[in-house]
Every structure is written in structure tokens, then in C-alpha cells.
């Protein structure tokens, strides 16, 4: 897995155990219901999830911990992906919306960089700049 070699690493890949996920309550922060319309994304994410045996775990720059996993399978590929945040529980820190946005953005940069082909990091960053998405550069 080529995780962020060409970009500034803003997410840290960790194991399920390091994530402390067993029995952890989680909150879905992003759902992608349709991976099908660009098959290269489906192929890449399916491969990564198979390698990771069903779930990818990372810690974002905010310090928050996430699980990336399938929401459903269909013949021929994944039909959807979700990103869940490890819930801090009653005594935990306040969940920062912008912190989550920035962590998701870093994850998207990793996805685009690895899908490759016509899907370039520069194009993603330009789109992020145009639409003023947290984590994206202000100008590209």
C-alpha cells in the first residue's frame, strides 16, 4: 500500500488494535453509496480493503481515529464505503467538524493519488480550492 509517499503525510495508518476499535462506539461521518460510476475507484478501494481484511484505520492530523470500511457488497465489486469516527464517549473531547473535514480531505488526497491516471492530486486540490473545502489549499 502506497500511503502518502508523494504528498505530505497528514494521516497515520494504524492497526485495528492501535485504533482501539474493539467494542468502540462509532459515528459515521461520510458515506459513499455509489462507487460504480468510475470503476477504477471501486477496484482500488476493493483491493485495499481486501488487503486490510475489511477495514482501514487511520489517525488524522486532528488526532481523531477513523475506520474506513464497506457498507455493502454487490457481485463484481463494492457498492459503497463509509468512514466512521471513533466516538470519544461521554468524557471525550468535543468533536470538531472542521477537524473531521480536514482529516477526510487528507484521506481523499491519498485515494486520488493512488487511483491515478486522469485523477490527479492537482485536479483535486484545484477543485478543493475553488469550492473552499477545509484542508484544501487556498490557491493551486
Amino acid at each position: 500500500m502506497d500511503k502518502g509517499r508523494e504528498i505530505e503525510i497528514r494521516i497515520e495508518w494504524i492497526t485495528r488494535e492501535e485504533a482501539g476499535w474493539v467494542g468502540t462506539q462509532e459515528e459515521r461521518v461520510l458515506i459513499e453509496q455509489s462507487l460504480g460510476h468510475y470503476p477504477e475507484f471501486n477496484a482500488f478501494l476493493r483491493r485495499e480493503l481486501e488487503r486490510a481484511e475489511g477495514g482501514l484505520f487511520f489517525r488524522g492530523a486532528s488526532g481523531m481515529v477513523y475506520r474506513v470500511g464497506p457498507v455493502a457488497e454487490e457481485p463484481g465489486g463494492l457498492s459503497g464505503i463509509e468512514i466512521c469516527l471513533r466516538s470519544a464517549g461521554g468524557g471525550g473531547r468535543t468533536i470538531s467538524g472542521e477537524g473531521i473535514d480536514r482529516d477526510i480531505w487528507a484521506f481523499l488526497e491519498w485515494v486520488i493519488q493512488n487511483v491515478g491516471g486522469e485523477w490527479t492530486l492537482e485536479a483535486l486540490q484545484k477543485v478543493g480550492a475553488i469550492y473552499r473545502i477545509p484542508g484544501a489549499p487556498e490557491r493551486v
Partner: protein
């Protein structure tokens, strides 16, 4: 009105005064609010009805993205228009309103007295904008689209502003922008917006390629008068689209161009649109 178990919200102003009822169809990411400055300018002479598609405005919003196909939108809007029990209508369309309204017109040409076509398309070949990775295809790519559309509401928060010219400042902040935001307050309420982007065909074999091809082929047989009004600075559907409509539709006036108009022409030129509708009403 309830259609196939879903509630359709619509604005209904004016009264039947012997003229066709004007049906105003919106696009993405808007809703009937888009026509708020046009309806009062025409409802003194006709009945004006502006529905919200399922997934938009105050209509129900199915949560499964797979529901949101062009075919389903056409089916529901066809049932909606027929359910209103109207004998004659004038269709006013922009953006996705084009393929949806034209599909109705091709199926029920005898019920349509005329059309005003604005900043839209009706053929399978994508515009340069829709074919480009940056910004369009990246904007709705897997996961990227979910983040930008569902979490960040990017098409409402920035897209409206970027695609409006004359009156764009009111799409940057304030009451008008808040009006567009109103029915899309949660990520799940925005699935219809994301799905629309993924319904645009790019090449043969794509979802809706054949459907759009059928619509294009039908344009030559439209038996009623059409008028064209176009925001000249629309980068999504440039003025060349207007001239193609003129070429393909037998009874079609030359396009009226709005030099400082963008894609959301209803925001830039409501007075001019009302004038075109009134002219069309006079023609029928």
C-alpha cells in the same frame, strides 16, 4: 400531491384564465424557490405551477442514491403533471428541467402549447465542462462527491455563486443563499444533488446515453412553438447549445442572449424570463 408513495411539493399561483398553465421546472441544486421572482410577474395572466423534484426542495427525499435516475425523475414528473389534470401546459425548463420537460413533451405533445428552453441540453454528447476532470468529474468522483456534496453542500455554498453573473453577490451570502440552503440542511437531504451529477452520460454505454439520444431525435418532431433564452456566460451549457436547439427544433425562435447571464439564468434575468413566458402565452 402524492406520486408513487412520495409527496411532491409545488408552488401553485394564479388562476386558470383560459391560457395554458405554465409549469416551471428547476435543475440541480435548486428547487421551486428558483422561480420566486418570475411567478409573480406572470401569475396575473395565467396559472403558474413550480414543482420540486423528489430529493429537492420540500418534496420527499428518498435516501437511496439508486432511486435518483433520470428515468425515475421523468416518471414522477410525468405523473405529477398529468395528476394536475391540466389540458394544456407551457413548459419552462433549465438545466435538468430540459431533459425532464422535453421527455414529457415528447410523450404528450398534444398537451404542450409551447416551451421556453434555457441553459440546458438534450443530447447524449457531454459539454466540454461535463467531460472535464477538473472541476466537474472530480467534483462528483467517488468519495470526493460524497464529501463535497453531502458533507459540504458545495454546489449550493459555492456552485450557485460561481454560476451566476449579474446578481451573483446575493448567492455569496444572505437571504437568497439561505433560501437555497433551507431544504438541504443535512447530508442525507443532499443525495439527489449528487445523484444528478452521476446521471450525466459521457460516452456510449453510460447510464442515460440512449435516453438522451432519444430526446435529441425527438426534437425534430416537436409540434409546438419554442423560445430560447440563454445566459451567455454559462460555462456549463454555452451559447452553442442554444443554437443547436434552434437548428434541431422546427418551430423555434432565435435565442435571446443575456450577455451578463450565467447558468442560473433565473437569478440573473427574472424579468426577461417573465417577458419570454408572456410572449409565449400570447403565441398560443
Amino acid at each position: 400531491m402524492e406520486v408513487q408513495g412520495h409527496r411532491i411539493h409545488y408552488v401553485d399561483e394564479g388562476a386558470d384564465r383560459g391560457k395554458p398553465t405554465v409549469i416551471l421546472l428547476h435543475g440541480n441544486p435548486t428547487w421551486s424557490f428558483l422561480y420566486r421572482e418570475i411567478i409573480p410577474r406572470i401569475s396575473h395572466v395565467c396559472r403558474a405551477v413550480a414543482p420540486d423534484y423528489l430529493g429537492f426542495g420540500l418534496s420527499d427525499k428518498p435516501r437511496d442514491e439508486r432511486w435518483y435516475t433520470l428515468q425515475n425523475h421523468i416518471r414522477v414528473m410525468t405523473k405529477f403533471i398529468n395528476g394536475m389534470g391540466l389540458s394544456r401546459v407551457i413548459l419552462v425548463v433549465q438545466d435538468w428541467g430540459g431533459p425532464i420537460g422535453l421527455s414529457y413533451a415528447l410523450k404528450y405533445p398534444d398537451k404542450v402549447a409551447g416551451m421556453l428552453i434555457m441553459n440546458t441540453w438534450a443530447w447524449p454528447e457531454p459539454s466540454e465542462f461535463h467531460a472535464s476532470v477538473m472541476p466537474w468529474r472530480m467534483l462528483h468522483a467517488p468519495l470526493v462527491g460524497a464529501h463535497l456534496f453531502l458533507r459540504k453542500n458545495a454546489l449550493v455554498e459555492r456552485g450557485l455563486y460561481l454560476s451566476t453573473v449579474r446578481n451573483r453577490e446575493r448567492l455569496r451570502k444572505g437571504a437568497v443563499l439561505n433560501g437555497y440552503r433551507l431544504p438541504f440542511s443535512s447530508p442525507l437531504s443532499r443525495i439527489g444533488m449528487l445523484a444528478f451529477t452521476r446521471n450525466i452520460p459521457l460516452r456510449p454505454g453510460d447510464l442515460n446515453w440512449e435516453r438522451m439520444k432519444g430526446i435529441k431525435e425527438g426534437l425534430r418532431a416537436l409540434p409546438f412553438p419554442c423560445r430560447l433564452l440563454w445566459g451567455e456566460r454559462d460555462i456549463v451549457f454555452p451559447p452553442s447549445n442554444a443554437y443547436l436547439f434552434q437548428k434541431l427544433i422546427p418551430d423555434c425562435s432565435p435565442p435571446s442572449m443575456i450577455p451578463d447571464g450565467g447558468h442560473f439564468i433565473q437569478e440573473d434575468a427574472p424579468k426577461e424570463i417573465a417577458g419570454e413566458i408572456l410572449a409565449l402565452l400570447d403565441q398560443t
